[in-house]
């Protein structure tokens, strides 16, 4: 089963929920943890994985062979991302804008364009206790997150996991990096906070997961600090509130230090196991569940 943790708004506690869910279930089932927030990955700060392998992620960008180029400018006209500028005497590639679609190389009438890999980020894989771990990082100044997210999603595929659980820590927002992170999940947990910001962005995130057809439930973090509007919204929309984590300064202080809430606060270990029971129960009752997914048992 693949469970993604997303939020719309940043800083609501995605990583906290994802990391502590993984820790609460560690040992009870095979777990892999994919930190797909490749712009600002944070899960490693809490899980302290031993990194075993590191690989560069690259994108094929065009290289123009000046000796073959006749300056016709077709490449610049077909490039939807404005990554090629053609002048009669020279053709200039702007690799930062290139999405790697391959159109220019395919369509150049002179065969003057080849592609060469440009590094846009890296993926690291390793182990944190019994948890298989992968995360990625975009290169500084490299704007394209989705290909790096995709590489993280595929990083542990070769290992196979049988009936285990994959937890995906998604980036904030609702645009392409989030889609690349949560697409194909069996369930999406939306972490929010009980404030107008949390509510507004939860509404956007719900719109996204519904468009992607992913069943979702909500975790309200820092419950009690704001107002009741998030709970009211969830009941109006028929979205289950899976867990409320009460606002408590001692939780915030533990998080600040990079601590693990489930180790320091046994009540939260129980709460996160309860979260998993609700997620897996919803997977079993859902019509889309594939075979293997029903094997996920009680813990």
């Amino acid at each position: 089963m693949i469970v993604s943790i997303a939020s719309g708004k940043g800083g609501t506690g995605k990583t906290t929920v994802a990391v502590n869910l993984a820790l609460a279930l560690e040992g009870a089932m095979p777990i892999r943890f994919l930190d797909c927030d490749v712009e600002e990955p944070n899960a490693h700060l809490f899980l302290h994985p031993e990194i075993e392998r590191s690989e560069k992620v690259s994108l094929p960008v065009p290289v123009v062979d000046e000796s073959k180029c006749n300056g016709c400018g077709k490449c610049a006209r077909v490039c939807a991302f404005h990554a090629i500028l053609a002048f009669s005497s020279r053709t200039i590639v702007l690799p930062e804008l290139c999405h790697g679609c391959g159109g220019c190389a395919l369509l150049c009438p002179q065969g003057a364009i080849t592609e060469s890999p440009k590094v846009i980020g890296e993926v690291e894989t390793g182990r944190a206790g019994d948890i298989r771990f992968a995360h990625g990082r975009t290169g500084i100044g490299s704007p394209l997150a989705p290909p790096v997210v995709k590489a993280v999603r595929e990083a542990l595929d070769k290992e196979g996991l049988g009936a285990g659980l994959t937890i995906i820590d998604a980036p904030p927002g609702t645009s392409c990096p989030v889609v690349a992170s949560i697409k194909g999940s069996d369930y999406c947990v939306l972490v929010t906070e009980p404030t107008p910001f949390g509510l507004n962005d939860l509404g956007l995130a719900v719109g996204l997961v519904r468009e992607l057809g992913i069943p979702c439930g909500v975790v309200i973090n820092r419950a009690g600090l704001g107002d009741e509007a998030v709970s009211a919204y969830c009941s109006r929309e028929g979205i289950p509130v899976l867990l409320e984590i009460p606002y408590d300064r001692k939780y915030a202080e533990c998080y600040a230090k990079g601590g693990r809430l489930v180790d320091d606060f046994p009540e939260l270990r129980g709460a996160l196991k309860g979260l998993w029971r609700k997620i897996s129960a919803s997977g079993e009752s859902g019509a889309e569940g594939e075979d293997g997914r029903r094997e996920m048992g009680e813990i």
């Binding site: 600002e40 500084i140 100044g141 645009s175 107008p196």
Partner: protein, 302 residues
């Protein structure tokens, strides 16, 4: 205003600056999860559709089912089913390669409405903001669009300052948000994640040669991490422009839909220097005073 990590308090600080600064235009560049409007209650005066992406569509009557389109698509957006291609609009990046390669000319590109952008009135001045539709791309282009409009308004109406609420992360919309700014104020928090993400975002501002200063929000949450931030910034020659203590008033202000710096004044429109404000509000006022000095110094250097 950027942060790397989300939820560090960018929007609360921007809304407070909106109340404190004079003669400015406000911009919300967090186009996929915009929140500034919740504190500034804008009245929309102009609404525009944002058309930046295009999507492939197949004319089934011309399609022979050869499958070339599906072979050349690198985004996995075209699946062949029952002899004809179907296009997944979420995966399609609008690269147009399929439309060029189709031997029958059966694929055309159609414009897609990816969101809206708005020009609004607020009690603190004009505001430009946007809403990208869920699962859409081109957030960087939408950011450029709202920034261009804000600059136009600033120039035509004689506003000297543009205050921008940026998105989290270090990717495409963040790069669009900081290009050509006079100062990037990085709002961070003394948590291990806050420190890590601030370092990445400072790498980004340095990479693009953008002048930066740092503000530590919730500075008393963890003294050791707050010190780490100060030491790190000191070593890189980055000024700590302010420190805001953790204060539940900040949350209450958000719940009331008001800039935190005005919350508790009773008469939000006439917050004077003698208004009774919480610790956080006072710290934000000091932060603004310092930022104003940095901006004036910057303006003077031209």
């Amino acid at each position: 205003m950027i942060s790397g990590k989300g939820g560090t308090g960018k929007t609360s600080v921007v809304a407070s600056f909106a109340a404190l600064a004079e003669n400015k235009v406000l911009v919300d560049c967090d186009v996929d999860a915009a929140d500034l409007h919740l504190l500034l209650s804008p009245e929309v005066v102009e609404s525009h559709e944002f058309m930046a992406s295009r999507q492939a569509t197949v004319d089934v009557s011309r399609c022979t089912g050869c499958g070339h389109c599906s072979e050349v698509c690198r985004f996995g957006a075209i699946a062949m089913a029952y002899g004809h291609p179907t296009i997944d609009p979420i995966s399609c990046e609008g690269c147009t390669v399929c439309s060029h390669i189709c031997p029958e000319g059966a694929i055309t590109m159609v414009d897609v409405m990816s969101g809206h952008w708005y020009v609004s009135h607020t009690r603190f001045g004009p505001m430009v903001h946007a809403k990208l539709k869920a699962a859409e791309e081109n957030s960087g282009k939408l950011v450029s669009q709202v920034r261009r409009k804000a600059r136009e308004i600033a120039e035509s109406q004689g506003h000297e300052l543009i205050i921008t609420d940026g998105p989290p992360g270090v990717g495409c919309p963040v790069i669009s948000s900081i290009s050509g700014v006079d100062l990037a104020l990085i709002v961070t928090e003394p948590t291990v994640a806050g420190v890590h993400d601030m370092e990445r975002v400072l790498d980004l501002t340095c990479h693009f040669g953008v002048e930066s200063a740092v503000c530590i929000n919730k500075c008393d949450l963890d003294e050791a991490n707050a010190e780490r931030i100060e030491d790190y910034c000191c070593a890189r020659g980055i000024e700590i422009a302010g420190k805001i203590p953790f204060d539940e008033e900040m949350v209450r202000a958000v719940v009331r839909g008001e800039p935190p710096v005005l919350y508790g004044d009773g008469a939000p429109d006439c917050a004077g220097p003698d208004s009774v404000a919480g610790e956080a509000a006072q710290a934000i006022r000091q932060l603004w005073d310092r930022v104003a000095v940095l901006l004036a110094r910057d303006a003077g250097s031209f």
